[in-house]
Symmetry: C2
Subunit: 336 residues, 2 copies
C-alpha cells in the first residue's frame, strides 16, 4: 500500500490540510511544520503528482515537439528548454514527430490531454499551415520554423541572411558556380533557399538549387549525380548538417577533395565539422539561446495572453574553416 497524505497526517497528529500546507509552503506554525516534516520522512511519503495536478489544475508541464531528437540542433535546444523548465519547477514532455504531420497531430492531441501549460514546437510546413484551425487551448512558441509571422510567437534564425552570408563568403573566395542543396519538409529550407537565391542574384550569378528529402543518403546520391553531370558546381551551400554529412560522403566516395574539387559550406557548428577534412565552414546557430528564448517567450505569453505575437530573429555566426579556402576558381577567374 502506498502511503498517502492521510497517513502522514495521522502519523503527525494533524489534518491533511496542514500536511498539504507544509508541502506547499503555506502558513503553518513552526511546531506543526517540523512535526509534519518528521512524519513525511518517517513514512517516506511522496505526493502523487497526478492527484495534485488534477486538483490544482496546474500541470506544470510544457510540451516540446521536434522532428527528431537525434538531430543535434534539437538535442541542444531540448537541453536548454529542459534546463529552463526545471529551473521554473516544470516538467517537459518530449516528442519526436519525424517530420510526419500525422504524428504531429497525434502529439498535439496528447498535449491537450496532458493539459500542458504551453508548447514549444518545430512544425512541418503542412501542420504549420493548419495550426490555427486546431483550437489549441495553450500558448505555442514556434522554434526553428517560424513561418510567415503567423499568430504565434516564434524564435528563429535569420535563415535568409545566414544563407546569403555563406554565398558571399564563397564568392569572396573566388567561387562562382555555387550550388544550393535544401531540405524539402521545413520552412527553414525554403528561407535558406530564398537567401541563397537573393545573394546569387545580387552577385549576378546563376542560381542552381535543389530540394531533397532530409536524409543524408538523399544528399549523397544527389551530389554524386550532380558532380557527374554537365552542371557540375565548384561549391555547394547545404541547408543542414544531415545533408552536409551526405555531401561529404559523396565527395569522398568519388575520391574528390575538399575544397579542391568542391567547396562546402553548411549549417550547424557541430563538434565533428571541425574534424572533417580541412574543417567545414558552417553557420553556427545559437542553439542554447534559441531554447532559452523560446521558454522566455512562453512565460511572457503566459503572463500576458493578450499581447500581440512576437517573432525573435537571432542571427548565426559564420565559422570559416578549410572547406571554403579559395580556390582554383580564383585562378580560373583571373585568366580572362
Amino acid at each position: 500500500m502506498t502511503v498517502g497524505i492521510k497517513d502522514v497526517a495521522l502519523a503527525a497528529g494533524v489534518s491533511v490540510a496542514t500536511v498539504s500546507r507544509v508541502i506547499g509552503n503555506g502558513p503553518v506554525s513552526e511546531a506543526l511544520r517540523s512535526r509534519v516534516e518528521d512524519a513525511i520522512r518517517a513514512t517516506g511519503y511522496r505526493p502523487n503528482l497526478s492527484a495534485r495536478r488534477l486538483r490544482s489544475q496546474h500541470s506544470q508541464t510544457i510540451g516540446l515537439i521536434v522532428s527528431d531528437i537525434r538531430n543535434p540542433f534539437f538535442t541542444a535546444v531540448s537541453r536548454a528548454v529542459e534546463e529552463a523548465a526545471y529551473h521554473a519547477g516544470m516538467r517537459v514532455i518530449l516528442c519526436n514527430s519525424d517530420e510526419n504531420p500525422e504524428r504531429e497531430l497525434l502529439y498535439l492531441r496528447l498535449m491537450q490531454e496532458e493539459r500542458i501549460t504551453g508548447l514549444i514546437f518545430a512544425p512541418t510546413r503542412t501542420t504549420l499551415d493548419g495550426l490555427d484551425g486546431i483550437g489549441l487551448d495553450f500558448p505555442v512558441v514556434l522554434i526553428d520554423r517560424g513561418g510567415p509571422s503567423g499568430g504565434h510567437d516564434a524564435v528563429v534564425l535569420d535563415n535568409a541572411q545566414a544563407a546569403a552570408t555563406l554565398v558571399d563568403h564563397l564568392h569572396a573566395q573566388g567561387y562562382r558556380r555555387i550550388a544550393g542543396l535544401f531540405g524539402n519538409t521545413s520552412t527553414t529550407g525554403v528561407e535558406r533557399h530564398d537567401g541563397y537565391r537573393a545573394a546569387m542574384a545580387a552577385r549576378g550569378l546563376e542560381a542552381d538549387a535543389r530540394f531533397i528529402p532530409p536524409y543524408a543518403e538523399a544528399a549523397e546520391t544527389e551530389v554524386a549525380r550532380w558532380l557527374g553531370g554537365p552542371d557540375r558546381p565548384d561549391a555547394v551551400v547545404v541547408s543542414n548538417s544531415l545533408l552536409l554529412m551526405g555531401v561529404v560522403k559523396a565527395v569522398r566516395g568519388l575520391g574528390l577533395s575538399i575544397p579542391g574539387d568542391l567547396a562546402l559550406a553548411g549549417f550547424d557548428n557541430e563538434p565533428w565539422t571541425e574534424l572533417v577534412g580541412p574543417g567545414l565552414t558552417v553557420i553556427e546557430q545559437p542553439v542554447h539561446d534559441i531554447g532559452r528564448t523560446a521558454m522566455e517567450l512562453l512565460f511572457e505569453r503566459l503572463d500576458a495572453p493578450a499581447r500581440p505575437a512576437r517573432k525573435v530573429v537571432l542571427s548565426g555566426t559564420c565559422v570559416v574553416r578549410g572547406s571554403t579556402a579559395g580556390s582554383k576558381s580564383l585562378a580560373g577567374a583571373a585568366v580572362p
Copy 2:
C-alpha cells in the same frame, strides 16, 4: 471552460459511465457508441490524463534517466525506448543527470511522484551502489552500466570483450605501445579498462591506462601532454566517442597524422567517425537493440515481478577503418 466527460454525456443523452466505457472500449451497444462518438467529436472532448491516471492507478509512463541526451549513444537509445513505449501506449519521461548523483536522486524522487510504471536507468557508479537502499517501488532496468550483476535487470555491452577486440586488432596491425583512455564516472570505463588490461597482459604488453573526466577537453589536454612525454604511445584505445573527439583534436592540434603518428580506436560508430581523417576504427554498439531490449526486460519484469534478475549482454561489432591501418610499428617490430 474546458469540456469534461459530463458535458459529453449530456450532449449524447447518456450517463458518464457509458462515455467512459466508449473511450475505454468497454461493452456498449453500437447505437449508443456512435451517439457518444458523435458527441465527443461535436464537443471536442479530450480526456484529462491526470484524472484518468489518478483514478485508474495506472500512469502508463516509463521513466528514462540518462547522463546526457547529447551523447549520441543515449540519443539513439532514447529513440528506441520511446518507440517501444508509444507502441505499448505508454509515455516516456526523459531526464538528464549530467553524471551527477544529486540530480539522479532528484529525478528518482520525481519518478516516484509520477508513479511511473518502470524505469530505464544509466546510473553513475555512486548511485548504482546505493540503489537498493532507496526503496524504489517500481522495477528498474539498467542500461549501459550494469554493475556487478546486482539485483536489477540490465542490458549492457560486453565491454571487456569489446576493448580486448580493439587491443587485439591494434596488435595484429603491428602496434605495441598501446595506451588506454577511460572515463572515470561510469562502470563502462572500468569494464573497458579491465578488458584492455587483460588483453594487453595476454599479449605480454605493458598496459598504460589513464582515467579522466568525461569531457572532450580533458582528453585533449591529456593526450597533448601524453604525446609530448617520455611514454609516448603509438596507439590509443579510447573509452567513448566524446573522448575520442578530444583525442582527434589533440592530434590535429599537434600537427600529427593518423595513423602515422598515432593510431586510434574507440567506441560508438557515429556517422562522423567515418568522415574524420582516414576514418576511425570503432566498436559499434547495437544502440537500437539496447533500447528495445531494455523495454522488453521491463515489460517481462512487470509481468513476473518475482523472477530473478537477468542481465543481457550484447556484443559490439568492430568497424575497421583507416585510423588503425598498420604501421611504422610493424616495420619497427621487424628490426630486432
